[in-house]
């Protein structure tokens, strides 16, 4: 599925300073029953966001109007658990384009990159600085600069570099995906397949 190209994102951010945010919290299994990729954002963090009677939980950050933006900032080990890409779809569909944490679970990170969300891994110390900056001013903006692989807290000027492999960076900046790449090398795959013992 096509996604927005990612180059430089300047935005306010939504803080979620909880560790080990798992994919069952991001999108509970009972909302995985669609056969189309539509509407998952409505159920993002469903059980943290709504009471059993579907009224919003006032103390959850997504229900607090002072926080908004295209960047979600989460605690250590964000996205652990299931391989459901629906978790990344829900985050994208809600409107986030970037998730910042001090550590990501592998599958979640891969899924995010595949659908056009940039996972930015920063040091624990820098993550704390981001949380502090947002706490001081919910309108504090972050700049996520993919070409330079740099994240900047604009209110304080503090910045840190982040890693991403060159292949994925190129894909994100151009809106390409892996399927195009693989389709273009089918002959090579076919040749490889004939050598397989299974």
């Amino acid at each position: 599925m096509a996604y927005d190209k990612f180059t430089i994102l300047k935005s306010t951010a939504v803080p979620l300073p909880i560790e080990n945010v798992d994919t069952d919290q991001i999108i509970p299994a009972r909302f995985l029953k669609a056969t189309k990729r539509e509407g998952f954002g409505d159920n993002l963090f469903r059980d943290w966001r709504y009471n059993g009677d579907d009224t919003p939980k006032q103390d959850f950050v997504l229900n607090n109007p002072i926080y908004s933006g295209k960047i979600l900032v989460g605690g250590h080990n964000f996205g652990s658990g299931s391989s459901r890409e629906h978790a990344a779809w829900a985050i994208y569909d809600y409107g986030f384009r970037c998730v910042v944490s001090s550590f990501f679970a592998d599958i979640f990170k891969g899924n995010s990159l595949n659908i056009g969300i940039l996972p930015v891994q920063v040091s624990a110390a820098f993550l704390d600085k981001i949380f502090l900056a947002i706490e001081a001013d919910p309108n504090a903006e972050l700049e996520v600069n993919l070409p330079d692989q740099k994240i900047i807290i604009l209110s304080t000027g503090e910045s840190e570099s982040f890693d991403i492999n060159g292949y994925k960076k190129h894909n994100l900046m151009n809106g390409f995906d892996d399927i195009d790449y693989l389709q273009a090398m089918k002959n090579e795959i076919r040749e490889f397949e004939t050598e397989r013992i299974y």
């Binding site: 299994a29 990729r37 059980d47 599958i107 492999n165 795959i189 299974y198």
Partner: protein, 467 residues
């Protein structure tokens, strides 16, 4: 390269790299692809919108499991959304010529149970599925891991995915396990030591006496849970136990093909001087029957211990407090004697015949506690048939338990098998995340023996007292 000592993981991984991309992932060939109803429909939609087909339909296997009811499977599925997904799997499989073991098929069951029991999973293979517990198949010396739906679409359309090669970890457990200590306890112990993120970025090889002496069912339980410490997968070198398990299974190689395969499988082990990026060694004697007290699988401990205080665990106090608050537990409390409401035995972690044998060993001659609702759910129809053949069903029935039909069931509660809010469930499944088994449900992960002990006493009980 050939002169260099390499690990089991290296040998299987390197044999499947079609192309290496500089400063990027490997183009990685997949031998076997399993699909189910929940994570495949959008991948098929993707194929349609791009107007591309399935490159090797004979390499993909479909089974329905996540959504399926565990009662009255002969009737139409009541939930229209579930029914729609099951129908989509059937239609897509038929359209592209993919083998489909849907609801009602004699070989239907949980994907990670049916793959191995039908000889589809073999040593040295690469196996993926849109489900993180695909790591189960690593028990056979395969590289097996969970993927997202975009990758399901990649495998369908090109039989490859793009993967950076993970780092390598070895976890050794040596010695002999004590009475009442099962493979589930071994894996919950390892995860409690490494934490829920301790193996992220790694692929794990399990080695040492304990795994050598473990059955294939037990090895599957251990490899299944690898993802719960963040590892993409875990694997165990194939040996005589592996070969004996595979021999004669429906889709296993036969005759000359068997001999050829066996010769190859015997090469699948880590060279003596191969180096791992990280290595841990544990002593089997330190492992007790385990139980979790929190909201991730790393929050487990020996069943006789008290719940730790926040300064005894890794991570921040706020997250720890949130977790205990959700569970309704307090620091320093004992787990033993806590009243429980539900018991669930089943899932891709503990839904195999050996698990029901263990459960029955404690239940035999006892009665289900009145305050407990128990869901006994086999991993497949083949397991269900074994339960009946071996007389386990009679033991269960005499004790007041009812056997359900196969599926993922209460492990992730996508069907009707939901634990009600606030209730405590001792569960043999793999995740105790908030709401995993139903909104507000409180999960205590444990082995089939611990589940059985809880089921007959109504409280958290050390199974060693009942053996």
């Amino acid at each position: 390269m050939s002169n260099q000592a390499s690990t089991l993981f290296d040998k299987v991984w390197d044999a499947h790299v079609v192309r290496k991309i500089a400063d990027g992932p490997d183009v990685f060939f997949i031998d076997r692809h399993f699909i189910h109803e929940v994570t495949s429909p959008v991948a098929f939609l993707g194929l349609e919108s791009r107007n591309i087909g399935v490159m090797y339909p004979e390499r993909t296997f479909a089974t329905a499991d996540h959504n399926t009811p565990t009662l009255n499977q002969h009737l139409p599925v009541q939930d229209p959304l579930s029914a729609n997904q099951l129908k989509a799997l059937e239609t897509n499989s038929a359209k592209y010529g993919i083998s489909h073991w849907g609801l009602g098929h004699a070989r239907n069951g949980i994907v990670h149970v049916v793959g191995p029991e039908n000889g589809i999973t073999l040593p040295g293979m690469t196996i993926v599925c849109g489900d993180s517990h695909t790591s189960t198949h690593g028990a056979f010396g395969a590289i097996a891991f969970g993927i997202g739906t975009s990758e399901v679409e990649m495998v369908l359309s090109s039989q490859c995915i793009m993967q950076p090669k993970p780092k390598k970890m070895r976890v050794n457990v040596n010695g002999t396990l004590g009475k009442g200590v099962t493979p589930k306890d071994v894996t919950l112990y390892i995860i409690s030591k490494l934490t829920t993120a301790g193996a992220t970025g790694y692929f794990v090889e399990y080695a040492g006496d304990v795994f050598r002496n473990m059955s294939m069912e037990g090895r599957m339980t251990v490899c299944n849970m690898s993802i719960e410490m963040g590892a993409r997968g875990g694997m165990i070198a194939p040996d005589e136990t592996t070969f004996a398990y595979i021999n004669g299974r429906e889709q296993a190689p036969k005759g000359e093909k068997w001999d050829k395969a066996l010769a190859y499988w015997k090469t699948l082990k880590t060279d003596e001087d191969a180096v791992f990026d990280k290595e841990y060694t544990f002593d089997a004697a330190d492992i007790e029957p385990m139980i979790t007290y929190g909201t991730n699988p790393g929050m487990g401990q020996g069943i006789s211990r008290a719940i730790p205080t926040s300064d005894q665990v890794e991570g921040g106090k706020a997250t720890y407090d949130k977790s205990l608050n959700y569970m309704g537990f307090h620091e320093n409390e004992s787990m033993l004697g806590k009243k429980i409401d539900y018991v669930f035995i089943g899932s891709c972690t503990n839904g195999r015949i050996e698990d029901f044998r263990a459960f029955a060993s404690i239940v035999k001659g006892r009665k289900k506690a009145d305050n407990v609702t128990a869901w006994v759910v086999p991993g497949s129809h083949i397991v269900e048939a074994q339960i009946k053949e071996e007389g386990i069903l009679d033991i269960l029935t005499d004790a007041g338990f009812e056997l359900r039909q196969p599926g993922c069931s209460a492990c992730l509660a996508m069907n009707d098998d939901k634990i009600p809010a606030g209730k405590y469930a001792v569960s043999t499944s793999n995740r105790n995340f908030e709401g995993r088994q139903g909104p507000g449900a409180r999960t205590l992960l444990a082995s089939p023996l611990v589940a059985a002990a809880a089921a007959v006493t109504g409280v958290v009980t050390d199974p060693r007292e009942l053996l």
